[in-house]
Amino acid sequence: MESENPQYRKILLRLADEGVEVIVVGMAAAILQGVPTSTWDLDVVHRRTAENVERLLRVIQDIDAVARGDSRRLRPNETHLIGPGHVLLETKFGDFDCLGAIDGGRAFEDLLASSVLIDFEGRPVRVLALKELLAVKRRAARPKDLAAIPYIESTIDEIEGRSD
């Protein structure tokens, strides 16, 4: 399903208001920090405690999230979200991926030190810092990751005042 109008803002606000602990990763994290690029999904790594998964499930229900590309339109449950796998969802606000771990098994707690808090419409939202995102993309090294590297690199240089 292609959402009528992707509204990732609304997903982020809903997560923040519900107090769900997540780190925004992937290209949405890049965009939030000023990288001039685009993406068709919002990727987050969530803390996989029972309490946090319960909060995340409330948001998932609110945004009508179901398994992406599955004709049965299954809604994820606690079992899906408590593990390290990737739960890929389509929602009324666009595609939303809940990742139990990334980068060879790094969970929320492992990424925390490499994340930063940004102000998002008055709410604190945690995103993977650009330098860490760049390192993750380099390690992943798939064509789509390699394509993103120049944009992230140049944005870091611009922020740090390095001209070419």
Binding site: E2, E4, N5, P6, Q7, Y8, R9, L12, A28, I31, L32, Q33, G34, V35, P36, S38, T39, W40, G94, I118, D119, F120, E121, V125, P150, Y151, E153, S154, T155, D157, E158, I159, S163, D164
Partner: protein, 56 residues
């Protein structure tokens, strides 16, 4: 004026993004994606047959 760096990235686009708030950056993305969806919808629209006999 574009300022292309050695990565081939236009630094003026980065500077424009950095002037926005995170929320504004996401809004710009949403606007762009919505435009792409509208364009795709237009492209996919089936052509109307000029031959009326083919539908009767």
């Amino acid at each position: 004026m574009p300022e292309i760096d050695s990565n081939g990235v236009d630094r003026s686009q980065i500077r424009r993004q950095l002037k926005l708030t995170p929320s504004e950056r996401l809004q710009a993305l949403e606007t762009f994606l919505s435009s792409v969806i509208q364009l795709r919808r237009g492209i996919r629209k089936p052509a109307v047959s000029q031959d009326s006999s083919s539908t009767r």
